[in-house]
């Protein structure tokens, strides 16, 4: 099956996508009140898209959309055919805007939560609490979920919900297990976390140990709090006598708020959107010799895991 075909199937289920009356001009038919739909006998509109599962032991993953721009989800999808490999081999997508036809947050192994929580909207608060109840591992996906990011600057007044002015990173409301900072988080980082989460839950002892070591720094970020800013580079890096001027922060900044002046980061604090990418990318924020010394093996393993 070609990539396009499988994407279509993924998006629309295994039924004729292109069919139907396409030539009919809009407005040509007389408008009629639709007949009541009887839900008593559970008539299925879509022919059950029964998925064949070559791997029985997949983990279940859901994408929970809070107040975010969908950029994180797009970034996940930007793994392109890698996304299909992930869905084929490692994860069933049990809940996801657009990609999975499920209304209520189901039980799942991993919840990838995008966006911050608007506490002026009770449904959002209910959903984040439900997510925590139903997911074994909650991952804050992207700057908004981790640190508030651009939603930190909201003061309300926007159409069409001007009363929505208070947004909190999910960690201010529920316990979060793993952070993936960045705006948007990169496809490769999301992929790595997915593969490692799979190994942690389904792998052998050796794989579990490696995945645990890999995920530990991202778990520590989740424990460290819900505030991030370019200032962290100064307060946690330079002030602590740890900066050696490599420039990783400047490369990681999505809004180019960081430039290197005389070998040290210069942060335009008015430009900073508080996504947390700079500090998380800094080799002196966290660095595990146990993990990074094995970089060759780990990268080969991830590449092998992503073979279709």
């Amino acid at each position: 099956m070609g990539i396009l075909e499988s994407l279509k199937t993924l998006l629309f289920g295994k039924h004729d996508v292109g069919g139907g009356k396409q030539d009919e001009k809009p407005g040509s038919a007389k408008a009629e009140k639709p007949a009541d739909v009887s839900i008593g006998k559970k008539a299925s509109i879509i022919k059950e898209p029964k998925e064949e599962k070559p791997v029985a032991d997949k983990i279940t993953v859901g994408h929970v959309h809070m107040s975010g721009c969908t950029g994180c989800l797009v970034s996940f999808a930007d793994n392109y055919e890698g996304l299909l490999t992930i869905l084929d081999k490692y994860a069933d997508l049990v809940y996801c805007l657009t990609l999975a036809d499920v209304r209520h947050i189901p039980e799942m192994d991993v919840a990838l939560v995008e966006g911050s929580v608007c506490i002026s909207d009770h449904l959002s608060v209910e959903e984040i609490i439900e997510t925590r109840k139903n997911a074994k591992i909650v991952v804050a996906l992207g700057g908004c979920a981790c640190y508030g990011n651009i939603t930190r600057f909201c003061r309300g007044g926007q159409q069409n919900q001007p009363q929505h002015e208070s947004y909190l990173p999910i960690g201010d409301l529920i316990d979060v297990d793993v952070y993936i900072p960045g705006c948007a988080p990169t496809p490769q980082q999301i992929r790595n976390v997915c593969v490692m989460a799979y190994l942690l839950l389904k792998g052998n002892d050796e794989q579990k140990a490696l995945a645990g070591a890999y995920l530990t720094p991202l778990m520590n970020l989740a424990k460290a709090g819900t505030q991030a800013c370019g200032c962290d580079i100064m307060t946690q890096g330079i002030n602590q006598g740890l900066c050696m001027g490599c420039g990783s922060c400047a490369a990681a900044c999505p809004v180019r708020a960081i430039t290197m002046q005389y070998g040290k980061p210069q942060i335009e604090r008015d430009m900073c959107i508080k996504c947390g990418a700079c500090y998380a990318q800094c080799p002196r924020s966290f660095f595990s010799f146990d993990v990074v010394n094995q970089y060759e093996g780990i990268m080969e393993a991830i590449d092998a895991a992503m073979e279709p």
């Binding site: 980082q189 660095f287 010799f289």
Partner: protein, 288 residues
């Protein structure tokens, strides 16, 4: 283990007289990139180029032999080469990237490949990472202070700076030589260097430095599978003249000693950060 994993250690120098004319030692980095560029292994490399201020390095993307040659030689100040690691794949459009850096920059690179938090589509484009031995580094203003104040020499008249044989050497265009004992340089080191536990760029594909080999030669560690492959091709292409490392003086013994010195000293400092600063407080430990 202070020398890291390596497949082979060799004494080497470039076979290209043009590269050697202004190289720091054996011209290994310039020659490796020039060969890799020629052979299509890389599309270009992030190097520490020369900025408008004398001996102030600036990260640059070299995509031609001329640009590589212009960046020959060591500049003892911070060159944030990692700051270009994403841009090099974007506005420069490189798919196969070469990068040279200090041990900490190699750590940043490998962390960036494993945890590409803000480095989208970068990890798989790193084709050759060359590491250089590094005891410590100085902010540019520190170099200014050392050369102009301690050395009483105007930086624009300097032709070469070098650290070796326990001294900081300043060579001028007109042939004068000034030497400073390393003792006076220490206070100008950047603090971030004092928690570094890597002397010989353990995470590079190939790492190199002057220590261990005679003047005009360099010590080379070939480390990764990728590095091994490229080194073999470069040797086959006649890019380097080599000698077995145990045939040269002072050899790996000195490299090991200096690496041990650095790691032991900095390990001690790291431990002191946990206990000796403040009461019941600790400075942050970057290593988990």
């Amino acid at each position: 283990m202070v020398l890291g994993n390596y497949k082979q250690a060799i004494a080497a120098r470039s076979t290209d007289p043009e590269i050697l004319r202004k190289s720091q030692d054996g011209g290994i980095v310039t020659q490796l990139f020039a060969y890799a560029l020629d052979a299509g292994i890389i599309d270009g490399a992030i190097v520490a180029g020369q900025s408008e201020e004398p001996f102030k390095p600036e990260p640059m993307v070299a995509t031609t032999r001329e640009e590589l040659l212009a960046a020959r030689g060591t500049r003892y100040a911070i060159s944030p080469n990692m700051s270009l690691i994403k841009e090099v794949t974007r506005s420069y459009g490189l798919d196969k990237v070469g990068v040279v850096g200090t041990p900490c920059q190699m750590q940043a690179l490998r962390k960036g490949q494993l945890y590409p938090i803000g480095l989208r589509d970068v990890a798989d484009k790193i084709a050759l990472a060359v590491g250089i031995f590094c005891m410590e580094n100085f902010p540019y203003q520190g170099i200014l202070q050392l050369v102009e104040d301690h050395g009483a020499t105007a930086l624009e008249n300097v032709s070469k700076l070098d650290i070796g044989k326990g001294k900081f050497w300043i060579y001028t265009e007109r042939g004068a030589t000034v030497q400073l004992p390393l003792k006076v340089t220490h206070k100008y080191e950047q603090p971030g260097c004092h928690v570094c536990l890597d002397y010989v760029a353990n995470l590079a594909d190939i790492s190199t430095g002057s220590v261990g080999t005679p003047d005009g030669w360099s010590t080379v560690f070939v480390r990764s599978g990728k590095g091994d492959d490229i080194w073999a091709k470069a040797i086959a292409a006649g890019a380097f003249e080599t000698k077995p490392i145990d045939s040269v003086k002072p050899g790996l013994e000195l490299v090991t000693k200096l690496a041990n010195d650095k790691v032991t000293k900095n390990q001690k400092y790291l431990e002191s950060r946990a206990t000796e600063y403040g009461v019941g407080k600790a400075l942050r430990n970057p290593y988990i």
